[in-house]
Subunit: 456 residues, 2 copies
Amino acid sequence: MGQKPSIPKGTRDFNAEEVAKRNYIFDTIKAKFEVFGFQPIETPSFENSETLMGKYGDEGDRLIFKILNSGEYLRKLSDEEFSSRYEKIITPKISEKALKYDLTVPFARYVVQHQNEIEFPFKRYQIQPVWRADRPQKGRFREFYQCDADVIGSQSLFQEVEFIQLYDAVFNALHLKGVTIKINNRKVLSGVAEVIGAQDKLIDFTVALDKLDKIGEVRVKEEMLSKGIPKAGLDKLQPLFELEGDFGSQIEQLKLILSESKEGLNGIEELEFVNNAITSLGLKSAKLQFDVTLARGLNYYTGAIFEVAAPKGVDMGSIGGGGRYDDLTGIFGLKNMSGVGISFGLDRIYLVLEELNLFPETITDATKVLFINFGETEAMACLKAVSKLREEGIKAELYPDDAKMKKQMTYANRRNIPYVALVGEEELKTNSFTLKNMETGDQETIDIQLLINRLK
Amino acid sequence: MGQKPSIPKGTRDFNAEEVAKRNYIFDTIKAKFEVFGFQPIETPSFENSETLMGKYGDEGDRLIFKILNSGEYLRKLSDEEFSSRYEKIITPKISEKALKYDLTVPFARYVVQHQNEIEFPFKRYQIQPVWRADRPQKGRFREFYQCDADVIGSQSLFQEVEFIQLYDAVFNALHLKGVTIKINNRKVLSGVAEVIGAQDKLIDFTVALDKLDKIGEVRVKEEMLSKGIPKAGLDKLQPLFELEGDFGSQIEQLKLILSESKEGLNGIEELEFVNNAITSLGLKSAKLQFDVTLARGLNYYTGAIFEVAAPKGVDMGSIGGGGRYDDLTGIFGLKNMSGVGISFGLDRIYLVLEELNLFPETITDATKVLFINFGETEAMACLKAVSKLREEGIKAELYPDDAKMKKQMTYANRRNIPYVALVGEEELKTNSFTLKNMETGDQETIDIQLLINRLK
């Protein structure tokens, strides 16, 4: 056959070093999730199509990977349906399952399906791959992991406080100091829209506002005007562009703008509660920042909105985000369940740690010692020692073939194995091992106990 | 909408306890893989269809989950192809990717694709899910994990020896004593077939022999006769049914049968080498057993064949298996790469550990202490303590709402949280905490340092 092998675009193979580095991030996040009281769940890679379809908008529906039914799947189509030759008609008949697109909708499905086994408030975390038929590009893949933690079944703002602490704890444990946790509140955005007479244009308004950093005040205003936001409203908006100072003083300025919006002031109160609690509790190395332009996933969030930015100087989009949603499980028939959750962007965190050289060297430590193979008898003696070392938790290997010495040494070198052990005639007689440090070239002949001590 | 939520048949949700138990098995296997010098790799969930199709026989092709192309996928079909309305013609045009069916073929693809980055012999392990459109039944799922370790690029029999040690090390670490590692050799089976004049009926011969345990000697012979194996051959086979004694003496008896088959004697030599080495090295708690009827995946294996049986008294199929294959990567154009590997059956191991009550109790330990919420001021004091406990690695939670005391206590009880901490007016004043043991009902009022000590 001899096909030239390749993998589908947007997917990746991971080698040992990459797996180790990814697991280091996963393990760090998991440990913090658990110490914060979150419990792991896992859901299947694919769901029934009706669970996913219609939950992410038309664009989302298009990007969901659909799985072809097995067997004679065309039989389910009527002649008329088949003849339509139209994907919208044919797809639902020949595909009943789809790969999950995110972890949130399967989580909502899980909560509803298992509601009688769950104690609410339910704090769950989930670290699993998801799939999107997006156009692959730098940093965007068709298969990637999401790391989510959510609490469902409580409206308490202490959850928001704890999620900020959780972000801080994770990034601090990853030695990634100086991240900025941005926070906003949907109610504040609604309030502002109300005050400027753009209640019915909330999305247009926030989409434009979100571009402030990139295109500047003048062009943001132009965009708002072009979307039909009244000129008089924009004037009222002016103080928003001039917010300055720390969290507290920005909030004070915003209060003036929002003085006539009940919802807006409610949002302000929530922000103040969270900021006061965090100020009182303190953060290790992250900084909490109010950002009135933050509006990610607005259709979805109903209260707090979070986003985490990498430390200054690292050119990377957000490395985490989340917020509160008041009715996640309603789509599956369980009403009035308020939830709040955050997510960590594994691939971007990986790139940031790589760029800042923050991966601990030890995590990619592989085999510590290679025993050189001089033939069957010597190899048996080596394998006995290898077994003892392994019992002590030392990663040890025997070169499997009695190949030329040079070949075996080259193998140790290329694999960055720091020590080789040699057992020849002399060592066999004296029950000893010659241990060679591959970096310094130093070698010594020692017994098994010393060998263990040296390598431990 | 209010759909009644469910998941596709053959798939599973895992709750916190199940995730913890599964991870305990994964982590134990991983730790041993690594101490034996295996390196982790990961491959994408889906591969290009041509990578997988044709590698598992017709039945396998049928059981591979195919992913529908995105967008207007019907356009790739000519009018003629479309009108055929025949899945064999239409599927390859509307589906170009497929979920992986096992880890072995993607591993072969990986080795060939990355051959210039790999040092051979290459020892890799891989723990990932695979998908099969099999009819779901007890213990058989459409999504399940495989845990594989393989070495590629060496013909040394020391590999076989090490894989037996690896099985022993893993099952011993799981406290699953008394597993039987069965071994056979394809060359022995070929040799016997040759000797009895059934070279061309190797598969029929081994399929019948494999049933010896279930249907007995008489019916095995009947089946062989019915498949055209000569009567004279069956007479020569007689000693095979009467093999007895330990590994060594069975091998001696087999030598007599195989005295005229070069290939058979070669197989015998390999078995002897492995058995002698294992005898010399010793096993912790597993037993190595020769089983001439063992023939799993015969088309595939070319040397050693392994299978692991659960301890006596546990009614479970094999919990692991593997063997040597001489040309795994040939399908992708890289010839003469001998490989040998083993696999662990996660789902069955899980059931065995469950049945024998071998999961350590601690692995499902979740939150250690719940702080009762008496209102905002008290809760803030609690959250400060919670933060300190978490820094000490203690899993601690604050009940998020100031719900009725009884509701909060019931929550702690239902979640099996062993301690609750209470901060009321008194404790606020004295900067102390009342810690209640939920099992004994004992309680004491202590400061933060004692609280940490008690819970650590």
